[in-house]
Symmetry: C2
Subunit: 724 residues, 2 copies
């Protein structure tokens, strides 16, 4: 027909259709003698299954429309430069509205349940209830078939314990199995956090980040748990009796982690100071991991060890060792899988086929999650460290196409997942059947959450500031305190377990805290940044500069405005953010005259931990896992030469160092190796006087920096900032 | 710590850790007085839930590793240019191996079931069995708590009818709920098929494609159903008695659709003739849609209408009207959502934020599926037509970044989904518990499948060839017959319903047919293309040429080799593939002297259907939904000017036609509009003699073509070919 002329007159499809129809009818008429044994019950069951499927689709559709609406509104807000409400806040608000509509507008069909008992003489030989029940039900057959009035057997699958036998029918309107969050929604969010960590500043602030994340979160969890338990004694009887210390401790663990999404989106939009950015990002990413493992350990303690109801030191220690072993084994699995992917991409030429390469990348990352879950570790922690390794090693081996593709895919997944979870937080406030409002508990929870955050930030900052350079200024501390939004992880942990009144009250409190912090704190972040005089609109280069120069507030400002004209620092310039310069930066300038860049940077600038790791990474890990120079042939002792040759690719040997520099995704770690010399020699690094003539030295460092970082750190950053 | 100097000696994290630990211990010791009421049963249940989660993760992990392995092997095969086995075949083979290992190596824990009856005096007021059963079970409590030996109530959720009460325990090793295929695996595959349809050739061959897909599939389904039913009478008693004509008809419907994946991957790799490509792709994409609706209608007929067991004409007609209404309503919903997305992207500036834009695109496409499912239509059909509309309209409005991103994402999703389903077909041969081998049925099924395909291809080709120009040559017909691989859709439909012996036998037969056709036919396609002298290595431009020139095998070959030197036509040149030139092409050259390209192309070249649609599309749809010219201001009557102005964007008015041409994704449809004149006037289209001097005329058409098609058809094609 496609090529039939304008005068087509015979054998058009319609006629062929008729032929087919007639053939079909005749065939059926000739042969069909046998009917089906459908009963009324079958048809009703079928209709019910269809209805269930429709309702599920409808529920999901509501969320998808909600997300689409959020996307359009975000665009509108960005378009009109509205800053007092952020996208996650928007998702929550839309969720609340839709949840309220669903709650009060829709009618629900209650579930029918029936009490049953075993047939005949039951023998309970097993400790466990059976997996399935078989239930005979008389089938209601009204039509006139040959089949007798029959009894059919239906299978029922074990779901869980009924805690409140007098409970109303569970209304499952638009609620998801909580495990969905841990298995589908959180992994891409956490992986993307790891994959897009700004590694340079992350490693520079590693100590502070680890302190805040591990020590701070634990401290905050125990403090909140203790205080809440104390306060619970003053609460109504039914609550205080069902609230055990383990419960409040669990609450402490789940409310302690801060959420990276909102605050980072704002920081990104505003180009906030990079050290603050790294602190907040690193902390919030890691404390999610700490919180999930910690809450798991608390849960475990409750279920397995604390049988007598008394405090048991051995049980506590076992829980503690659980905590550490699970955390570090998960870390190990994640890192190992990341490195394995790097090896795969290095030693095969799969990069010739970007689609295959991207598929492999996604599959390996997902299998990390599954592997951790299958070995009873924590998948979310594993994917976090897998993401970090993928970004640190594998990313360098990928083809340009795959880099783009993997970044864009995970960016989109992350965006959809985070908006989904925040919409769901809003919707579930109204539709989730197991909320339990208790004003006293909620108010206490709010106070405790703030208290926990304060304990996390201020004392630890003070401790860190004893040795740390640059110090974390008071304004930074306030901002850190304020950046403690609670988010997806808290909610997911709270909704995971809602069996008791206590747990339901916790869920309600957590939901409210999340909603409040995301909308109010998220919305006010902008204003507060201004009020606390935290520099915004900072470029990468400026930040570099910021770190490498001798700190002098006046000169700093002058140079900023004169030399680059990009930074707008709000408020007085003497209100220095970094109170003291990095030691190494001092060295940089005093040693600048000698020209031995290599030596001075190596010896002073970085913390020991970062330096040891950096050396090891540059000498062994990177040459092994990526195409970077120096190769293992150069770094390994001579006796290992055959192995080193095996592990070194031709590409690695033939490329020149300069080109590699540019494709490397993070340069902070491998800053100490020799090839830096090759680069710095290109820059006009003339010796300058230490005091007054800072400018040439800085220009030098600046130009070197801009050469070194034109590569993929920029790309990553740019893609991260694409949201704006 | 990051900035601590090399001589850090106080307050290291370890010490802070200790402090935190001690604080925690003290706090717990002070406060913890209350234990948990964990019983042995609780702990055992918990352990069991954990185990189940581990097993699920492990199952999924097996598939993910399998996919990773497949990806690596595909790379190896491509790297070494192995062509006798294709990737989907590879996935199936790996699946078979792993399935066999899982079957014979692993031990499974059988499910425990218990027969129950209602407590007390049951009153069966409802037609339906209850949704949940509550079951009291004595809790086995061995530890010494204060709690008495208790009874707990557990909830059981309705699963389905037990058909065979004597059946062994269901072994659920590595099997998925069949609905997963329809809700998760198939939608991205089908959407991508629509999104990447090569629209130009698709519309040119629309008549043939529709005939093959709708008439052919129905014909084939009824034929297979009839023949199978006849043969079933010769089979063992237990099978023939359980095989109703509806069953065999259902089998006919599920085995009729052909799979686009494998054969198209091969065609893509080899750059096969584009008309053949379009026929195979269009047919296999559409017949999936036809088959799913047809099988649904057959199912419906069995369940709802055919109560008496006799053939009922009214019931049959109702089923037929079901079939058409579901098909066309699904089509409508898909198209409407696609157009709605186009409007959204046209009238907002969301394209300024590619992440938001891509998210919106994905969300709208997914909501099409959900909307169709929620309204009891067929989601898979809706996403297919949504994909076509998205490619036809929305794609033109997207930013460059979003085009890339959406193409790449759906390409990757499609790749993963198709490889997953083929791996699963392999694995499930061994692990799916409801296989039923019956040699007679399987052999008959193989014969019938081939027969059905033959009835689909040969008579319809003959019918089409009566009017069609260019005709479908005999070799093309053989290739079409041979390209009838069965795949994902057949398998998904077969595994959806496995309640009876007959259905289980069908599943086994379908699995075997899929495995056989994918491995054997897929592997031999290469060889066959060669043997049937079907041109491979054809470029887009060459194909254009192919269609526009006066057909003369010798001159064709000469020109090919002389002018472009790219086409390698295997076999004798006189063995013309297109037996007759397109009428319009004749006109093209004879009218070439007059220079009125516009008129000749408009009047002769295309089939009526395509022409009417093309005109309408260019005049109203494209101006409304995209930024294309002419605008509605030009095409609508004057009285509608205010509305037209409202629906026309500034961008549409200010851009020049030439630029638009380049960004338009498919140009065949809007070939008839005036702006073509603007372009052709740029090319040196001098009048040439009709006979001997073909070259200038063709060069002319060629250069115009290459201008017009430098846009996104190429991109789409390129991305589709990226797999190679």
């Amino acid at each position: 027909m496609a090529a039939s002329s304008s005068k087509a007159h015979t054998c058009r499809p319609q006629e062929r259709w008729k032929i087919a129809l007639i053939t079909g009818v005749v065939l059926i008429g000739l042969i069909c003698h046998q009917g089906c044994e459908a009963t009324d019950t079958d048809i009703a069951l079928d209709a019910k299954a269809t209805l269930n499927h429709r309702i599920q689709s409808l529920d999901l559709l509501v969320f998808v429309f909600l997300l689409a609406l959020t996307v359009l509104t975000i665009w509108l807000f960005k378009h009109h430069r509205v800053s007092w409400l952020h996208e996650t806040g928007l998702a929550v608000i839309y969720g609340l509205i839709v949840g309220a509509i669903m709650r009060y507008a829709g009618s629900s069909t209650p579930l029918v349940h029936m009490q049953v008992e075993p047939e005949g003489n039951p023998t309970y030989t097993d400790k466990l209830p059976p997996d399935t029940l078989w239930f005979k039900y008389p089938v209601n057959q009204t039509n006139t078939t040959k089949l007798p009035e029959g009894i059919k057997t239906y299978a029922y699958v074990f779901r869980g314990q009924v805690h409140d036998v007098d409970e109303n029918e569970i209304d499952l309107k638009a609620t998801f199995d909580p495990e969905v969050f841990f298995n589908i929604i959180l992994p891409p969010i956490i992986f993307y956090a790891g994959y897009s960590l700004k590694k340079k500043y992350f490693f520079r602030n590693l100590g502070a980040i680890l302190t805040f994340a591990i020590v701070g979160t634990t401290l905050s969890a125990f403090l909140i748990g203790g205080v809440m338990y104390g306060c619970a004694k003053l609460m109504p009887k039914y609550l205080s009796s069902s609230l055990s210390f383990l419960d409040t401790l669990y609450f402490g663990a789940l409310i302690s982690p801060t959420d990276p999404l909102t605050i980072l989106a704002i920081f990104n939009d505003l180009r906030v100071d990079v050290n603050l950015y790294a602190l907040v990002l690193g902390e919030s990413v890691l404390n999610d991991a700490v919180a999930i493992v910690l809450s798991g350990a608390i849960q475990n303690y409750g279920e397995h060890y604390s049988n007598t109801g008394e405090f048991e030191t051995t049980a506590f220690l076992r829980s503690m060792s659980d905590f550490f072993s699970i955390f570090f084994l998960s870390l190990l699995i994640g890192a190992a899988m990341g490195c394995f992917t790097a090896l795969l991409t290095k030693f095969t030429r799969v990069r010739d086929f970007p689609l295959l390469e991207s598929a492999l990348f996604v599959l390996m990352s997902y299998s990390t999650f599954l592997l951790a879950e299958a070995t009873e570790l924590t998948g979310v922690v594993a994917v976090l460290f897998c993401g970090i390794c993928q970004a640190h090693y594998t990313y360098n081996n990928l083809s340009e196409d795959s880099r783009q593709r993997t970044k864009q895919i995970f960016e989109l997944l992350n965006f959809l997942a985070e908006n989904f979870i925040f919409s769901y937080i809003g919707v579930s406030m109204f539709t989730f059947p197991k909320h339990h409002f208790d004003a006293g508990f909620i108010i206490t929870a709010f106070i405790c959450a703030a208290l926990g955050r304060a304990v996390n930030v201020y004392p630890l900052s003070w401790l860190l500031n004893i040795k740390r350079k640059p110090k974390i200024s008071t304004n930074f501390q306030h901002m850190l305190f304020f950046a403690g939004l609670r988010g997806a992880m808290s909610f997911a942990l709270a909704i995971r377990n809602t069996v008791s009144d206590a747990r339901q009250t916790m869920l309600t409190a957590t939901s409210l805290i999340v909603i409040f912090t995301v909308i109010i704190q998220g919305g006010a972040a902008n204003f507060l940044l201004n009020w606390l005089n935290i520099p915004v609109g900072v470029d990468d280069e400026t930040e570099q500069l910021n770190n490498y120069q001798v700190h002098s507030s006046d000169g700093y400002l002058q140079d900023m405005e004169g030399g680059r004209g990009k930074t707008r620092i709000s408020g007085g310039g003497t209100d220095g953010i970094l109170d003291t310069p990095i030691e190494g930066a001092n060295g940089s300038l005093s040693n600048g005259a000698t020209g031995s860049h290599h030596h001075r940077r190596n010896s002073h600038e970085k913390a020991i931990l970062a330096r040891i790791w950096g050396n090891f990474d540059t000498k062994f890990m990177k040459p092994l896992l990526t195409h970077s120079r120096p190769t293992l042939l150069e770094t390994l002792p001579n006796c290992c030469n055959p192995i080193a040759r095996l592990l070194t690719t031709t590409q690695q040997l033939t490329q020149d160092g300069g080109e590699f520099r540019r494709v490397d995704s993070d340069s902070d770690i491998c800053i100490d190796n020799d090839s830096v010399n090759g680069l710095t020699s290109q820059t006009p690094g003339g010796p300058g006087p230490a005091g007054g003539g800072q400018a040439p030295g800085r220009r030098n460092s600046l130009s070197r920096v801009s050469i070194r970082y034109t590569g993929d750190t920029h790309n990553l950053l740019a893609s991260y900032r694409n949201i704006e």
